[in-house]
Amino acid sequence: MNKILLIIQREFLTRVRKKTFIIGTILFPVLYLALIFGSGYIADKTREDLKIALIDRSGLFTKDQIEQVNGKDTANTIQLISSNTERVIAGYDSLGFDGYLVIPGNFNWQTGADSLIVNTKKSYGMGALNPIEKKINALWNKIKHDSLGIDINKEVLLNKSISLKLHNEQNRNADAVAASTIGYVCGFLMYLILLLYGSQVMMGVTEEKTSRIAEVVVSSVKPFQLMIGKIVGIGMVALTQFLIWIACIFLIYNVGKASGNNSETSFAIVAQIQHVFTSVDIYLTVGCFIFYMLGGFFFYSSLYAAIGSAINEDMREAQSLSFPITMLVIFSIFLMAPTIANPGSPVAVWASIIPFSSPIVMMARIPFGVPNTVPWWQLGLSMVLLIAGFMLTTWFAARIYRTGILMYGKKPSWKEMLKWAFRK
């Protein structure tokens, strides 16, 4: 027991004292936020704007109306032209059009048309035409209203609609948007932690094997102690990093709250954060996150340790052997989106109970509320199964590990590794 503590201590201290730990702790949240907000920003920036020529053979569309709808969205525009299609095609570059739309002469304000074709000079994505479609329909609406004699007041009245909002009886603060956001952040963070720290365990084991220190150490301790010591030590590093982040968030929040009274904007941000914090049981979420982070980490990292013990210096071996394990993690993250959309659906329930996917999927569900969305029995069963799951993977991994770390030469096949595991 004492020896395991020594190993844990070494694994922990050598990692925490490295500069990369400090840099990683600071940079990770920055990169993480950049990833989340950056992807939205990039999607916004890469959107393609269209300028479409409108050739109206029906004579129903007027310049005034078109200018009016263009004014609402200046990125995508429609321009009424009187020339024929050949001149538009010939003058794509000089006139600056991306395509043209012909309203046929038989276009009638009552029947309209099921579909019209926009001819473009190149291919566009599915969403590119949406703004233009909206404009054409807005124009047709105007034509219909004018023909029916509906004035602007009646139009406003006709357009009024009622919006429905969810109100949870048991949890008055529940907010589906906040829960989805937190669920998404938690699930994705879990995914990154499992992959990053799992591969750290794998590389650590391989390093011990290839530098031949393993043989020196296992003449003093049992291979199992060495493996468990490494896994727990690296797990503690992950936990430390997470606690630093949590401490920072609470610190920033409280400092922001104290100084928030002075400025309008920061007060608004703090109010928003406060809203998120109160709408979700933040202590339960953080507590569960720590449990699932450690449970999931033990589950996967012991498998990664087994892989690490089987490979030699070649990193390609590491990739091909760890692929099935990594696929399990990636599969779990694919289950996250449908889970957040429907946190009570059977897929979400079972994926959050079965050990390999439960760390990510359950963390995506918990912000929606315990015991509302996630009944206590589901949470309890999921936790018990995760503990049982990592005990099983650890047992299994230890049996591969004890043979693997002393085995040099060619890369073992999965069949050989299974043979190591089930040998007496």
Binding site: L6, T14, E208, S211, R212, E215, V216, S220, V221, K222
Partner: protein
Amino acid sequence: MNILEVQHLKKYFATQKAVDDISMSIEQGSIFGLLGPNGAGKTTLIRMITGIFYPDSGNILLKGKKFEPENDAKYIGYMPEERGLYKKMKIGEQALYLAQLKGLRKNDAMHKIKDWFQRLEMESWWNKKVEDLSKGMGQKLQFVITVLHEPDLIILDEPFSGLDPVNANLIKDEIYRLAQKGTTIIFSTHRMEQVEEICNHIVLVNKGQKILDGTVHNIKQEFKENLFGLQLETMPENTGSPSFDIVSKNKQDLIVKINEGYKPNDVLGYFINQGTNIISFKENLPSLNDIFIKLVEGTPTARQFEKITG
């Protein structure tokens, strides 16, 4: 008293009988040579003695009691053939860590490390990393780490490979010093000249089996071919005698093989009668190298893979 006894030890791998029924005993305080060509099963045998592998069958007795790897690790120091240290860890911390893993308390370990580092002039290494060391320096460090916790049994696998003569002598002196203090040393190697010089007792293994066991003196006696070397002032014209055959001959030196039923004195008597002045007369015992090659010869240099059933 025997510090270590190995009884009918077996370890089969999927394609090889790595160790096939080996028994031996090692006396406390002796320097014991475990010899064999590459792939003979030495490393597997050692790994069982150090508790890294469990034997398929057979017993290991340490100090007369059944060997329990977990509790007995502190009595054994093992330096594997492939040296292994954490490359990025500071040397002082590394020595301390590995000593603590052997069960030493921190203060004791610190004290002993300082002592050894001082004696082998390694004090300036404390804050260096292993990757900064040359191969020979790494070897020296590995040796210190192996013997640091004052084990009763030290197992050294090819301890001199990669060492220059100065450092090899340094380590050799330390080995003698430890043996004098009562430490038992097992020396695994295929370098015969070192064994001849250092070991009292040897075991030769080949293809997983023990093929020779005894003291260096007895083994040489057993394999001697009654060869004697003579140095003469002048070589006589005629050197025929029923008592010996000439094996080789040049200007002054003569190697003879004494025939059955004759004694060295008969040879000397013959030359004295011839009136030749004898400068020297010495028995030529076979070197362990010769015996080794003679015994191992004929078996393939590399072990073949075989199908193991049962």
